[in-house]
Symmetry: D2
Subunit: 424 residues, 4 copies
């Protein structure tokens, strides 16, 4: 799989990064893509699918570790990381996006990446030793428990889970859903968001993040949530209950009321990863479409599919939109590198809105070129489409980001009256 680095970013990719990039591409092509079918075959169709994990994944992980393709996501400012910039890692995330099982094979898959960043950035030494270490080695997995069913969680101040301090413990009560990765039998720890300070004047200071080990009494997995019919076992997106769960007070991360600080710090680079993996998804969808419409066996009415209607125009449009979207993401990644995630707020928001919509369009065209085969289990396209569709609301819906971007623009009004001599 060729990886074309956009010209504009070319000089920012150091030789060592190019080398890793090449290795990632080879590993995905030669090891991960060929293992996809086996991976799916190793997932049971009955309840055991939540209790076992496809063994082929451990083989891939071993190989990736040997190749040094491990924890690439951890940026240069963490000593545990591979020393890559956001721009450099973004290019690798794109390649990983093409083959969904490859991210975990290189210990670069969500939500663990974000959780590891939280531990690395905000964790105490004890917290790091206990949780970050086994996460970095790939021995355990983790989940981030924020969203709740009965409130509008896109405004996180609505979150209701309570965390009451009793002695040297916090007692946690609440119900969460869409907890990705909580279905995984290897998931050993949850980062849970809830209210330690429900009466704080500032609603952004009421929430905290606490570490809850998976075996804590009172933690119950209620059911897997389905994404357009998929339950994504064994990973899963689970509905869970926390009933009188007691954890030591030192499990709190950073301190009471600092939940918003943590989730905001967690989001920036994570959104870049999601976006670049989505670009990789779009590239693979386009590849599949091209392969399909040039296929002699798929001729209809005496012509190749690509000779019909607007298929070539759709392919060109997809190419243009993918390439434009990639530049938007890389520009945001570069701004994080040059400044930081907060400074790149606008650029990240743009990427967050543009990329999933672009990718969905590309996949939809590709699916259409495959007819019935495009939306079934014999092609990866339906899984791609449904997965990317969730990104239009996950981490804040399009509408919220769009409204913010619009408001930022409106603030320019006074300056504009002056420039264009518009009387007010």
């Amino acid at each position: 799989m060729s990886q074309s680095i956009p010209n504009i970013i070319s000089q920012k990719v150091r030789p060592q990064a190019r080398e890793i990039l090449q290795k990632v591409g080879d590993f995905v092509d030669n090891d991960c893509l060929p293992a996809e079918e086996l991976f799916h075959a190793q997932i049971r169709t009955d309840e055991r699918r939540w209790k076992e994990f496809p063994p082929v994944m451990e083989e891939l992980k071993s190989k990736a570790k040997k190749l040094g393709l491990w924890n690439l996501f951890l940026h240069s400012h963490y000593k545990e990381g591979a020393g890559l910039t956001n721009v450099e890692y973004a290019l690798m995330a794109e390649i990983m996006g093409r083959c969904p099982i490859s991210s975990e094979a290189m210990n670069c898959s969500a939500p663990d990446t974000g959780n590891m960043e939280v531990f690395a950035k905000y964790g105490s030494e004890a917290q790091k030793q206990k949780w970050l270490t086994p996460l970095l080695t790939g021995d355990i997995r983790s989940a981030f428990a924020m969203t709740e069913r009965f409130v509008a969680s896109s405004d996180a101040t609505n979150i209701q889970t309570s965390m009451v301090k009793e002695g040297n413990e916090y007692v946690i009560n609440g119900q969460k859903w869409w907890i990705s990765g909580a279905g995984d039998p290897r998931c050993a720890v949850y980062l849970v968001m809830g209210k330690t300070n429900p009466k704080h004047d500032n609603p952004y200071k009421q929430q905290s993040i606490i570490i809850v080990p998976a075996e804590t009494p009172g933690v119950t997995i209620l059911r897997p949530m389905h994404i357009f019919g998929f339950d994504d076992a064994p990973h899963g997106h689970m509905e869970m209950a926390f009933e009188n769960c007691r954890v030591p007070a030192e499990n709190l991360i950073l301190g009471e009321g600092r939940g918003f600080e943590i989730i905001q710090g967690r989001l920036g680079p994570g959104r870049i990863h999601h976006c670049m993996r989505s670009i990789g998804v779009a590239e693979r969808a386009l590849d599949l479409m091209i392969a399909r419409v040039t296929h002699p066996q798929r001729k209809t009415f005496g012509k190749f599919l690509y000779q019909h209607g607007k298929i070539v125009a759709d392919i060109a449009k997809s190419r243009m939109e993918i390439d434009a979207a990639r530049l938007v993401v890389l520009n945001a990644a570069d701004k994080i590198d040059q400044q930081n995630a907060k400074a790149a707020l606008r650029e990240i928001a743009m990427a967050k809105v543009i990329v999933p919509n672009t990718t969905l369009n590309v996949i939809d065209c590709a699916m259409q070129s495959f007819g019935a085969e495009g939306i079934c289990q014999d092609q990866i396209l339906a899984e791609f489409w449904t997965g990317i569709r969730t990104l239009r609301y996950a981490d804040g819906p399009d509408e919220v980001h769009t409204a913010q971007l619009g408001k930022i623009e409106l603030r320019r009004a006074p300056e504009l009256y002056a420039t264009y001599r518009i009387l007010h």
Copy 2:
């Protein structure tokens, strides 16, 4: 559920049809919608889901029969039917579309409706007695086996299943997929398309349709095809093999080489049904969206959802597009009534292209307003979206219909040169 008949069609709906329409609406509201949850709960999650059928359906069928809401789809020219015009039935199909289980409850569900029409229109008396009678009473179900996996079936001349006459039998060999309804334990008969005359000069005269009872030796269900992540058990869309299946020669419908004639006769009204059910789907999606965005529990940042961004504009756009699309379908239905399906070719093609695309847009907006809940098993929207998505290629992809409509327009060129005095 109020049913608003568009003004333009109002005078074409006779009093007796209005009465039935009202009854259908009440039955759907009071009996079917409340049974939806139970219906889904009665479907097993293990392999038994292909062997049992949710008992609540038989209760609904009994009630519908008592109410006289049975076989409404069979048009006035069949003595077995309810005497409704296509326009009148179309209005009922829209209501049925809002609640997917209601069509079968009134014995009006695909593919049985199309199959019953084939028997009624083209079947011999013996064929009618054996198959049409139990289908009309709802005692058995049926499937239509046309599409094949390894050829581009959107050009049906590509279909490869062979039907070789040996003595007084046909021997059938072939592999089919996406055979909807073949998963149903009550499915007793297949209408199979294949080549009896593979060497006929005219490729449109090579194919025939033959009746294959489900218990015929050599018929094997291979696997259910998934629509995105749904397998639609127990109905199912199955991959099947026909290996040396022998059926009596009199099982042939109409005669050798008349397959295309039959499938074309089957499609016209069936497309109207699909389209109007889709309109019903769009209406329900819009209803759900309105209910969501006005819900006090879903306020974010201090406002109702409808007060954010472009939600009201999206609702208005959905309303406009649904109402326009409905008129397009009713115009086609009316042309079938006034003339026939062949004369209404253009109008049907337009409806076939416009409606699924419109409905998908509406559902997508609605899903977005529900966030994560919109795409999971707790709302019907994801099931709606995936189901309607298949209509963009089933019975001919958008692209084929669009190309045909375009070609019909191009034929007007000579007349235009004259009107506008354009020299050629």
Copy 3:
């Protein structure tokens, strides 16, 4: 030019209307279309273009009168009219739309049609005799002076022109712009909107409509407004001043404070006319596109234009969108016929939003197929595009109508909670 009556409406077009329709079609084809070039050639390029009117128009008017194609727009409830329903006239308006000069040739052009309706519906006998009579004979023309430059006129309560009663006269002061038809040397009368009752509690009772003869002292034409570079001379869209204009008190229409009542009564059918003429515009644009892309002289790279890219798909899409839009308008027209304009508020609003957007898309595709020729004076497409573009904000912008339609939908919420058992 063939006129295809949509099937769904066919039975509502009476034989006498079909006869007129045929005559209108023939008159447009045989007389108006061939006169278009001459009409444009007879418009001066210097200031005289505001003082003369192309003589060919009077010839066309004479012929139309002889053919009985005169004042067709006046609906059956006015004794002066042709006795056509809104649906019947709508079909004729579509034909007129194909050739912009044909409307006036049959005395069916805006804004005179709306003004004649105002006189017929609300005028006193004296007002009718003085103004309606010569308008109905085509001897004078008229304008409707509402919009003002420095206020947001899409909310007509903002209109500032003052009308102060002094003795038996009103003294009018105000500035208006975009007064269509005020450039015409034959324009003899303005219907002016302004505030007679600026302190009325109800802002919808402050405005009145008064008749201002063109020769009234104090009326000044300031300048023509341009539409994308066109000034539409001699018709024109003028900026005007009313300075201490004095008119007799009996020039008031209906009475003080009844301005909103009048403008609302004027709008309904007028919007249908605009929409159907737009449909006619779209049809001609599509015709021109088809003629262009099939033209042997326009081959590029060895192929006809229609063999390139997505042109056939664009043509098909245009056909579908035009046909759908026409049904939307006819449904609204029929509701006015069956009930009245007020009852058809929603349907008219939909037509008002859908049609111009659809038509603009069609024209844009057509222009693109003509390249540079498509946007210049050698084809009618640029004039069409700019004219239709104004309909997206004239008589209320898309946004206002969309917001209203959205609000109407939101009102259904309580009923929906009940139907779908959604708890609130």
Copy 4:
């Protein structure tokens, strides 16, 4: 006017370029924008508008020269230029795009820029001295005469103008249209494309470019072509005849049959300029929209315009699309800098398609926010819209570029079969 350099390109803009950029911004803000109204007022409304040039332009040119803001477009490899890279100049072109008169004020306006590049790159020393020198000083202007009326010029092999060598002269016969700048009284020279070798086997070797001084006998300006209703006097887009025009043989550029080589060399950077000026246009349109919708005088129904409907969402969408489009252009510009225009073919084609479409959307939103004022002579938006609309077909229509991009993608098919193990 603030100029924000996208982060990703920031390090490629040298300090000296930043300094010039700042000066360009100041000059446009402080000198050009305030002169716009006067410039338009100085254009006559009668025939004299083709014979005079607004004097304010010479004042602006003097000032620009003094500021050293002159011939910025000529790239570093020409000794006459300002030594800027394509990326650096692109940023300036964007600023110029905001104020259309500013390009000429800095001697950076089309078609002269492209013509100067032709002289600089392909001209003989004598040709340079005679034509490049006065063009570089701004003493004369020039035009490029390629497009012909009666052939499909988007395939330039169709061009028919003949150039027959007789002795030491070429005799030129042909008719051209849309010759931009030919209306300008200061236009002294045409670069004319035509066939010197009509029988050459390779149609791409039949055409040549020859220099035709404006005063050559046989050159006639026939009429100005209109863009929508604008004639863009005094610049103009003229239809012209060349009848038995005789020019010395040494006026040929490069040699016989090298026309395609020259026009291709001319296009690359020129397209970047057009694109970046378009981005500037989009920025100004967005600025105007923001100024309008925040304006207290434009409140309707008690709210600011921005509080209605989807206006904020439209603004955010415009911002995202502009920023994405800019990155696409800069990426292409950078590839020209790093490699050359030929290597950047794909990137340039993408920019060529994406930018005008994006800009048209932004302007259309902005126009809509201004209502009637948005499309008339009181705002620059209508002029912007019509000007940018021509870029969708000028230098090759969207469709041609899209088809090429699609074909390039299809070529990747064989590699894809291997990667994804798709059997063929």
